[in-house]
Amino acid sequence: MAQTVIIPTPLRRFTDGVETVEVQGTTVGDIFNQLESRFPGIRARLCEDNGDLRRFINVYVDGEDIRFLDRLQTSVSERAEVSIVPAIAGG
């Protein structure tokens, strides 16, 4: 079973313009590793050198912000939708 990752516009240059990518992982960190092996360089855009999620990126698993969960250790169920979303302005 796979999960779907929604790739935001600023990262699509790594995915040849592809908007959604199918992966198989157990945690968000695991999924990031898989993205990195398929699209080299993408993880450095998502995470700081020390491995933490970058400040201006939000990651959601089925709509839930992983900062409310276990951050990169957040487990990901089968068929989950993982959204990577840049922080955007208020309104």
């Binding site: 959204s83 208020g90 309104g91």
Partner: protein, 415 residues
């Protein structure tokens, strides 16, 4: 004539061309407009500004458009009210209300950002505009889009105040309530913006949009006789307004239009959604997102995009941030109405209640020259208020006098 050099990442400094882009591809930091201040300095003088119409476009050189503005031509220059009655109630000397509750055309400061964003959308050649909104931005995008001939798509949380929904629908906008809070709406909007070639004012036009908020600060300084206040208290949702007022005052100082701005910045939030205030109080710049639960729906952004920068502005200027309960917000709305005749929305109640708290804490003092930012109109958030039930009378003088006698008895008993 353009005064824009390009866009630049606020975090890592990577330059970008002027385009509908908001996010740095290197680090995901927000992009900002980079101006040619040397060129601006040559034309933007106090005299030049004074000679121009009383709208926000009088600061045209410091706004990110290339040609003449095309949207929101009458917006800006709202009153700066010297609030003597409220000052007395708060025990301070010199207090002003910057009153965007009477902003043209939709009664909130969002008219400023939308004037700039839609003028820019037209320059970029967009035909469809949109936004994610807690209500005020929805009203303004819908109204200005109608007037300027854009099609609009407006995404809002499905629990908004009725007035804010009606005040969007009336303009013929495509209004889409989303089951969730603003942060859910924001995420969806960002994904839509990645797929459709539309101008989302607070997504792909954010660098331009946000610049409109600077005019709130420009006007305060000009209306104070080209001086910066000692303290300014600003409501915070995403945290953009407070950072842009700060930027605006600093630009004026850089251009020599005011003395170096020593203003202390104070941020106001509701306790039910206080991620920025909590960070300031904890002495950190890291924002921990929250799930909003407050009547101040226009401030109910649990994951504020500019929170990191807002905490920076607050701490670096010697300011502070506080939060207040829903009950305190309601009491402050009443106090402002009954001392100054200004009916502010819940965000305004939040800002005033926080001001009271900061004065009680001694962070703002009686001798400070204080400006309170009132950013929206109370007619839009009436659901937050429960006032006394009114009894009607027969249309007879005797009935009126009986009522008056009753009131006098009540007053006498109370004294």
């Amino acid at each position: 004539m353009s005064y824009i050099k390009g866009l630049k990442c606020r975090e890592c400094g990577t330059p970008y061309p002027v385009a509908p882009l908001a996010i740095c591809e290197e680090c995901f930091g927000p992009l900002e407009v980079d101006y040619d201040y040397e060129a601006i300095k040559r034309t933007l003088t106090r005299e030049a500004i004074a000679s121009r119409p009383k709208t926000l476009w009088r600061y045209r050189e410091l706004l990110p458009i290339e040609g003449e503005p095309t949207v929101g031509l009458q917006t800006g220059c709202t009153p700066l009210v010297r609030a003597e009655g409220l000052a007395k109630a708060l025990g301070v000397r010199e207090l002003y209300i910057k009153n965007d509750a009477v902003s043209h055309p939709t009664l909130s400061f969002k008219d400023r950002v939308v004037a700039v964003a839609l003028s820019k959308a037209r320059e970029f050649g967009f035909e469809v505009v949109g936004c994610a909104s807690t209500g005020n931005l929805a009203n303004s995008v819908a109204a200005n889009a109608a007037a300027a001939g854009f099609t609009s798509y407006i995404l809002i949380p499905d629990n908004l105040e009725k007035s804010k929904v009606i005040g969007t629908q009336i303009f013929g906008a495509n209004v889409i309530p989303v089951r969730g809070n603003y942060d859910d709406v924001n995420r969806l909007c960002s994904e839509i913006a990645g797929r459709y070639p539309w101008a989302f004012v607070n997504v792909n036009l954010r660098p331009f949009y946000a610049e409109g908020s600077k005019t709130f600060g420009f006007e305060i300084a000009e209306q104070l006789g080209w001086q910066a206040p000692d303290a300014v208290v600003v409501p915070m949702a995403g945290g953009a307004l407070i950072t842009k007022i700060y930027k605006g005052l600093n630009e004026l100082a850089q251009l020599g239009l005011i003395e170096a701005a020593g203003t202390r910045f104070y941020g106001a939030q509701a306790t039910g959604c206080n991620p920025i205030a909590a960070a300031v109080k904890a002495g950190t710049r890291e924002i921990r997102p929250v799930k909003p639960q407050t009547i101040a729906k226009s401030l109910a952004i649990g994951n504020p995009a500019d929170g990191y920068f807002a905490t920076g502005v607050i701490t670096s200027t010697g300011g502070w941030s506080e939060d207040v309960s829903d009950a305190e917000i309601v009491e402050a709305i009443k106090l402002l109405a009954q001392t100054e005749g200004i009916f502010a929305e819940t965000a305004g109640g939040t800002t005033l209640a926080v001001t009271q708290k900061l004065i009680a804490q001694g962070r703002i003092t009686a001798s400070d020259r204080i400006v309170i930012a009132i950013t929206g109109n109370g007619l839009k958030t009436q659901e937050a208020l429960t006032l006394a039930e009114l009894d009607s009378i027969e249309p007879k003088l005797s009935a009126f006098e009986a009522l008056l006698a009753g009131k006098k008895t009540v007053l006498a008993a109370a004294s």
